[in-house]
C-alpha cells in the first residue's frame, strides 16, 4: 500500500512516500506564498523518484502549520501527533521527541506505538527556533551553515538572552562590540536556544531516550549545546527535517488500514 505524508511547514513543504511501511522517497519545495502549489510540487517530486502516480496513492495525510491548505489530503494530523509517530518509528525506544523547526520548537512525550501523551510548544516566540540562528548568523555576518562548525570551535560560551529574537540580537551586537571571538558568540546563540528547549523538555519530565527532529537537528552546533544542557546524547535520524512528513505518512497508513476494515 502507498501512502503519502505532507508536512506544510513555514519555510518548506516536505513529503514522504511510504510503501508497505518503508520509506520509498522524499520530496520538498519552498513554501513561499502558495503552500498548496508547493505541496503539489513536493508530492510530484517524491512520486517521480519512487516511479509512482497520484492514482497509486491509497491515502494522503497532511501536517504542519499550513496543513489546512494541503492538496489531496484525506485527513490531517497535528504536528505533535506526527512527531510522536515518526520518533517512535525511527527509534522504537524513544519516549521524548524534540522537534525544532524554523519558527517553532516543541517537545512531545509519548507512550508505546507512538501515541502522544503530553506536549509543550515554545510560547509564541521564535527565540527557541531556527529563525533565531538565522538572525544571529546575519548579525555575525556568518553563513547559516557555518554557524555550527564555528560554535564547535569555541572554548567557552558568552551568555546571551534568548527570551526574544530581537533582544537576543542586540545582546549579540554588544558581544561583537566587546570583541568576543565569533566562535564563542555562535556557541552562545546555540546555548541560549538549548536552554529554552531543555526547560521545555524538563516541564514534560525527561527520560533518557530523546529523539531530535526538525530542520535544526541538522545543525551540529545546536546538537552539541542541547546534549550538554540535557546531559545526554539525543538520537537524530538521517533525515530529521522529513520526520513530520514521515509521521503524517505513517498516520496515513494507519488510517487507510482502518478505512479498509
Amino acid at each position: 500500500m502507498i501512502t503519502v505524508g505532507m508536512d506544510l511547514g513555514t519555510q518548506r513543504v516536505k513529503t514522504v512516500v511510504l510503501k508497505d511501511g518503508a520509506v520509498a522517497s522524499r520530496g520538498q519545495a519552498l513554501s513561499g506564498f502558495d503552500p498548496t502549489k508547493a505541496a503539489e510540487q513536493a508530492v510530484d517530486e517524491a512520486l517521480k523518484v519512487a516511479n509512482l502516480k497520484l492514482s497509486d496513492v491509497a491515502y494522503f495525510a497532511a501536517t504542519g502549520s499550513a496543513m489546512d491548505m494541503a492538496p489531496y489530503a484525506n485527513s490531517t494530523v497535528s504536528m505533535m501527533g506526527a512527531d510522536a509517530k515518526a520518533g517512535v518509528y525511527l527509534f522504537p525506544k524513544a519516549r521524548t521527541i524534540i522537534d525544532v523547526g524554523a519558527e517553532e520548537a516543541r517537545a512531545v512525550k509519548c507512550g508505546d506505538k507512538g501515541i502522544m501523551v503530553d506536549f509543550v510548544v515554545n510560547e509564541r516566540c521564535a527565540a527557541g527556533a531556527g529563525v533565531f540562528i538565522e538572525a544571529m548568523a546575519r548579525a555575525l555576518e556568518v553563513k547559516l551553515e557555518d554557524m555550527g562548525p564555528l560554535a564547535l570551535k569555541a572554548e567557552r560560551a558568552s551568555p546571551i538572552n534568548a527570551s526574544c529574537v530581537i533582544f537576543g540580537e542586540s545582546d549579540v551586537v554588544s558581544l561583537i562590540h566587546r570583541q568576543e571571538p565569533k566562535p564563542e558568540i555562535a556557541r552562545a546563540v546555540f546555548d541560549a536556544m538549548a536552554d529554552r528547549i531543555s526547560s521545555m523538555v524538563h516541564r514534560l519530565g525527561v527520560n533518557p531516550d530523546v529523539v531530535l527532529i526538525g530542520g535544526v537537528a541538522k545543525d551540529e552546533g545546536f546538537v552539541a549545546s542541547l546534549n550538554r544542557k540535557l546531559g545526554l546524547t539525543v538520537s537524530i535520524p538521517e533525515y530529521p527535517d522529513y520526520a513530520g512528513a514521515l509521521g503524517a505518512a505513517l498516520t496515513a497508513a494507519t488510517r487507510a488500514k482502518g478505512a479498509q476494515k
Binding site: G81, M116, F119, R124
Partner: protein, 448 residues
C-alpha cells in the same frame, strides 16, 4: 474597608490620560459595532454547533447582547431612582446589593480592542483583563460600567488592586480588603467585618435599609438561582445534552441579568434538557473527549475563542465543566444560613464568598488545597478526560499555580495543557494547532 478607602469625589485624573470627546465617540462607535458583530457571530456558531439547540437558549442569546435589552431595562430602572452597583470580583456580596433594592452587575471587560487603549495607561505586561477594562472605561464602551453608580472592587490580585485605583479617576470605588490566608479565624472575622461595613455603605448610598426581611428574600433568591445553576451543571455530567459554550453563556449572563428571571429561564432550560436526555438526543457523540477549562476568567464576548476552538476542532471536544470565576465559580456555593438573624445572615454571606472561593489569590501555611481538591472532584464527577489550563499573559497567580495543578492531575493520569494567550484574535491559528493536538491526544487515549 475603612473611611480612608472610600474615594467619594473623583479628584484630578491620577492615571487616566486626556482623551477628547471626539476620539471617545469615534472609538466607541467603531468598537461597539465590532463587538455587536462578534456577539452575533458567536451566537451564530453556537446555533450551528447544535442542530437541536434548546429553545430556551433563545432567551440567553438575547441577554448576551451587552448593548441590548438588559441595558435598556437597567436604564429604565435607573430613571425610576434605582442604584446600580458594579463589581469586578466574585467576592462582591451581591445579596446585600439586591436586599437594598439596587442592581448588581459585573463589569470586567471581555473586549480585545480596548486592551490596546489600556496600554496608554499601564504597560503591556499587565494582565489584559485589566488593560481592557481600563480601555473600555476610557471610551465608555461598557453599558454596565457606565450605568454603575458605584463599583465594588475586591483587592484580590495585583491587577484588581491597582485597577480600582485607576478607575477611581471616574467612579466611586468601594474597596474590599480580602485576606490572603482564608483558613484562619482572624481572616474570617476580618472579612465578615468588611461585609458588615459594605452593608452600611450600600444602605447609606442607596438610602434603603437592609432589613432582616429583605436580606432573607435576597438570600432565598440566591438559593434558588444556585439550585437552578447546579441542576444545569448536573445535566452536564452524563452524555452531552448541551454544548459547553451554551452552558457557559448561561452561567455568564447571570453576571448582568435580572436574577429572578435568569433563574426561571435556567429552570426552563433544564426542563428541556432533561427531556432531551430521556430521548438520548446527544449534542455530539458520547465518545467525544470531555474537556474542562480552568484558569483566568474568560469574559464574554471576545474570549469565546478557546471554547469555540475546542468544540469546533477536528477531532472535536466537548466542554463539560469549567473552574473559572467567570463561569462555574459564580453560583456553585449557596449562602449557608442557620438562623436567619441579621448577624447569622451576614456571617453566612461572608463565609460563602471567602471560604468557598478557589481563587488563586489565596495561600495558607499548610498550602491551601481548596482549588486542587475542587479540580480533582470536578474531574471525577464530570468524568473529565482532559483539562485546558487557560492563562492570559500577565495573569501571574494562575500562571504560577499551574505547576501545582499539573502535578495533581498527573497523579490521576489526567492530561492538562497550558494554553497561554492574549486579548487578541491574531493567535487563533496557533491556538488551533495546540488545541487540535491536545484533542487528538485525548481521542487516542479514549481509543486505547
Amino acid at each position: 474597608m475603612n473611611e480612608e478607602n472610600i474615594m467619594n469625589e473623583p479628584v484630578d485624573k491620577r492615571y487616566m490620560p486626556e482623551i477628547s470627546r471626539k476620539e471617545i465617540d469615534e472609538l466607541k462607535t467603531t468598537m461597539k459595532a465590532a463587538s455587536e458583530k462578534v456577539i452575533a457571530e458567536n451566537i451564530e456558531r453556537m446555533k450551528k454547533a447544535d442542530p437541536h439547540r434548546p429553545d430556551a437558549m433563545k432567551y440567553f442569546d438575547e441577554i448576551s447582547n451587552l448593548f441590548g435589552m438588559r441595558q435598556e431595562e437597567i436604564q429604565a430602572e435607573k430613571e425610576k431612582g434605582k442604584k446600580v452597583i458594579g463589581y469586578m470580583c466574585l467576592f462582591a456580596p451581591t445579596e446585600l446589593i439586591l436586599a437594598a433594592d439596587a442592581i448588581p452587575v459585573r463589569v470586567n471587560s471581555g473586549w480585545y480592542d480596548t486592551s490596546k487603549l489600556g496600554d496608554r495607561v499601564v504597560p503591556v505586561e499587565v494582565c489584559p483583563v485589566i488593560r481592557s477594562t481600563i480601555g473600555a472605561k476610557m471610551i465608555e464602551l461598557s453599558p454596565f460600567m457606565e450605568q454603575s453608580d458605584a463599583l465594588i472592587s475586591v483587592l484580590t490580585c495585583d491587577g484588581m488592586t491597582k485597577l480600582s485605583e485607576i478607575l477611581s479617576d471616574y467612579k466611586l470605588i468601594w474597596g474590599m480588603n480580602v485576606p490572603r490566608i482564608k483558613d484562619s479565624t482572624q481572616s474570617l472575622r476580618f472579612w465578615n467585618d468588611e461585609i458588615k461595613q459594605m452593608k452600611t455603605q450600600i444602605e447609606q448610598f442607596t438610602g434603603n435599609k437592609i432589613t432582616r426581611k429583605n436580606l432573607k428574600e435576597a438570600i432565598e433568591l440566591s438559593h434558588r438561582a444556585t439550585k437552578a445553576f447546579r441542576r444545569l451543571q448536573e445535566l452536564r455530567k452524563g452524555a452531552p445534552v448541551i454544548m459547553g459554550r451554551d452552558a457557559m453563556l448561561v452561567n455568564q449572563t447571570f453576571l448582568w441579568d435580572d436574577k429572578l428571571r435568569w433563574t426561571e429561564k435556567t429552570e426552563a432550560l433544564c426542563d428541556e434538557l432533561e427531556k432531551r436526555a430521556q430521548r438520548k438526543d446527544w449534542v455530539c457523540s458520547p465518545d467525544t473527549p470531555r474537556v474542562m477549562i480552568t484558569g483566568t476568567p474568560m469574559f464574554w464576548p471576545d474570549n469565546w475563542k478557546l471554547p469555540t476552538l475546542v468544540e469546533e476542532s477536528n477531532p472535536q471536544g466537548i466542554i463539560v465543566a469549567d473552574e473559572q470565576c467567570s463561569g462555574e465559580r459564580i453560583l456553585n456555593d449557596p449562602v449557608g444560613v442557620d438562623e436567619w438573624s441579621m448577624d447569622d445572615m451576614l456571617n453566612a454571606i461572608g463565609e460563602r464568598y471567602l471560604m468557598a472561593s478557589t481563587c488563586p489569590c489565596f495561600t495558607s501555611k499548610n498550602g491551601n488545597q481548596d482549588r486542587i481538591n475542587w479540580l480533582l472532584n470536578k474531574v471525577k464527577d464530570w468524568n473529565v478526560q482532559g483539562v485546558v489550563y487557560y492563562v492570559v499573559r500577565g495573569c501571574m497567580l494562575y500562571a504560577m499555580e499551574y505547576t501545582r495543578v499539573k502535578k495533581a492531575l498527573d497523579k490521576i493520569n489526567i492530561p492538562v495543557y497550558y494554553l497561554d494567550t492574549e486579548y487578541t484574535r491574531e493567535d487563533v491559528g496557533q491556538m488551533k494547532t495546540r488545541v487540535e493536538a491536545f484533542l487528538e491526544m485525548l481521542t487516542a487515549r479514549v481509543d486505547m
